[in-house]
Structure formats: structure tokens, C-alpha cells
């Protein structure tokens, strides 16, 4: 369904974002990460940007992930 593919696209986009910028381990391409690892990293990102820490890919979080930005990770090395 379109909704499902959008959700899936957002999820894959978010995984790539969190992998590049929050140290989410690289999952198998195309397969969805285990949800607790993903959720932990997502919460780190929401906390950094002072969003509501929901651990879910809500609209505000996806919107912020899509904004043009610097490619240096937000935490750690």
C-alpha cells in the first residue's frame, strides 16, 4: 500500500541517517534493523534536537532528518 511504502521509505532513510550520524550499526542493506537498536539511536537523535523523545518516527523527526545539514556525526568520534 502507498502508506506502507512511505513508512518503509522513511524507515530506511532514517536507518541511513542514524548510521551516518549516530553510529547505528550498518544493517544488512534493505533489511530492517532490530527495533531496539534502532529505537535507542532514534531517541538519541530526538534528544539531541530537543524533540519529544518518542522512539518512533513521527512527522517532526522525519521532517528534521530531511533538512540539509553537516555530515559530521552529532555524537562521539
Amino acid at each position: 500500500l502507498p502508506l506502507q511504502s512511505t513508512e518503509k521509505d522513511n524507515r530506511l532513510f532514517a536507518e541511513k541517517y542514524l548510521h551516518r550520524l549516530y553510529g547505528l550499526p550498518a544493517g544488512l542493506q534493505g533489511r530492517l534493523q532490530k527495533s531496539d537498536t534502532f529505537q535507542t539511536k532514534l531517541k538519541e537523535m530526538q534528544k539531541f534536537f530537543k524533540l519529544k523523545v518518542t522512539g518512533t518516527l513521527d512527522d517532526s523527526t522525519v521532517e528534521l532528518m530531511k533538512q540539509a545539514r553537516c555530515g559530521v556525526p552529532d555524537i562521539g568520534e
Binding site: 551516518r20 550520524l21 539531541f48 534536537f49 530537543k50 524533540l51 519529544k52 513521527d58 512527522d59 517532526s60 521532517e63 528534521l64 530531511k66 533538512q67 540539509a68 545539514r69 553537516c70 555530515g71 559530521v72 552529532d74 562521539g76 568520534e77
Partner: protein, 368 residues
Amino acid sequence: YNHFPRHLKWQNNNITFRILNYTPDLKKADVDRAIRNALNVWADVTPLTFKKLHEGIADIMISFGSREHGDYNPFDGPNGLLAHAYPPGAGIGGDTHFDEDEQWTKDSSAYNLFIVAAHELGHALGMSHSSDAGALMYPVYSYTTGFPLSEDDIEGIQALYGGKIHDLLKPRPVAPSKCDPDLSFDAVTELRGETIVFKDSFYWRLHPQMPEPEQTLIKSTWPFFPKKVDAAYENPEKDRVYMFSGIKMWALNGYDLVDGYPKYIHKLGLPKSVRKVDAAVYIKDTGKTLLFTDEEYWRYAKRLFTRTMDRGYPRSIEEDFPGMDDEVDAVAYHYGQLYFFHEHIQYEYSYASRKVLRIQRTNSILNC
């Protein structure tokens, strides 16, 4: 602000840099100037000096590249990741890469090279990302004019290198915190279904589908606009938003400035003694526009510039809006109710029955 782990920094203050190649988007001289100005931003507040090399290895090697460009840290095409830089150190340490797939500009029309370079060179000197939306080291790109470093940035870089502060430098403002209990608003307006709340040099954007308001620098969206907004309102029938600052007013069609603006507020028939509009609102049900200045307010018929202010105005706010404060910071109109904001209090006022229905904190509309 944040530093990289182990507070990585250059061990001597005289740093060298070299520009290895140039983007075709700008003249070579424009790139040279953007990079030099970006380095000067950091030199202005620290003892650091930057010497340009034209050959050999420099501490900071600057280049433009796209997709995989030699550091196993590929760019992603237009938008998304704009650039990256490495913390101080030997080899790739300090190196700064810009994504050639971006459109690089020297104004606000696309990605301003000076602003991105000032951010990336912050990394090359040891600054990591800041979570303060008003800081240059905030990860998300936003266009701004004037001196780009905020207090937060300056404190961070001086913690690494010590510093000097020029009293002529006015650091970029720190972003207001939406849940500060004493928060007051400068202005509130609707804009095509969203609510825009102005405070200092920032605005929050509230969208019914987005649980969290999004904070942005005013100049990042409206570069032509002055730093602070006094009042704003939308006339949805004309798809216009009117914004007031000092004795001037701007008309926007969406995010674009309408030809012929800014105009002086006195063209509305306001006396010269009025030097600013505190709040403004369009009452959809009556087609009337209300402008609030100090303890009074003015009412206009449908078309603002017919110079016809309704007879018998200005009138006293206290008399016509009993139960309200006698001054207003901002006002909005939703479904028959007026929402007046004064300092940290929000008054929900029934326009029909002329009375205050509810009192809340100003920032309750920001999910606080």
C-alpha cells in the same frame, strides 16, 4: 557547545590551510573570499592565525568532491549532507570537504558557502555539534547575515584556545527556549494553515500534524526581514501575511515579498506618533483588521489601504476588551475566539460575548 572526544585541538595557534580545487558554481575569488572570511570568524575570537599555502601539505586541506571522494565517507548528492570536516590531527585531521553536488552561492539563494565553511572549519578546529538552534555549530543548515558565531560557539572555541573578544562583535543570539515559563511572544500569525510564533530573531512553526514546533531563524526564511517582528497577521482571503517591525510593514505572499513593500505604517492612516504596532489580527467573521498600539487599538474595514479606519478609533483596549490586560504583545483569531498574549499569559477571549473565557500560560501553544 560540544568538543570532540579528548577535546582534540591544534597544538600550535598558527595553522596552515590550502584550497585544493574549486567549485564551478562560484568565481575562484568568491571561493577564496568565503573561505578566508570563514577562517576570520574564528580568528576574531581566538589567538589563532591562518596562513594560506599554495602547494604541499597544510593542516587544513580544503576540497570539493561528490559521492565517494576518497575518504570512504561518501556524499549523498544534492541536499541532505552538504559537507563534512575532520577534527584536528595529522593526515586527514582538519581536512574539510564540500559536496560538489550542492549549489554553492554567496547569497541566500542556495547553500551559502561562507556559512557552511564557517561551520565546517569549526569542526576542523575541534568544535563538534551544538544542540542550540541559534549556534553556528548546530548541525542543520540555516542562512543568516551578520556575525555568525553565537555566545555558545564563542564559549566553545575559547575553551579550547582561549580568546579575545572584540566589543564590536555582536554574537549571534541564543535561541529562546519554548518552555521557559516566563516566555512572551513578539507576534503570532496564521500562514496557510500553520501557526507562526515570533520571538527575538527566531520563529516557531506549528503544524497540526507535527507534534513538535520547529524553531528557525527569521532571516533564514525571510532574509529581507529585520531581526525582530513586532506584529503579524494573515488575511486568508487575499492569501497575504502582513508583518510589522518598527514603523514599517511587509506583505508576504507565502514566503515571497509582495512588490511595493515594505511600506510605512503611517500610510494606514496611523498618526506619526505611533512608532510601532504591538499586535495585529484579521477577524474573518467580520472582515475587520485590528491593530494594537500601546493601550489603544485601531479598526479597519476589509481593505487595509483604503485609508478608511473605522470611525471613532483609536479606542481603549481596557474598555473594549474587559478582563484583559491593557496592553497586548500578540493576538490570533481562531473559530470566533481571540487569543491575546501579554507577557507570559494567554487570554482566550470570546469576540461575540465580549469576555475572557480562559487564561493559560503563553507557551501552552508550544506544547509546554
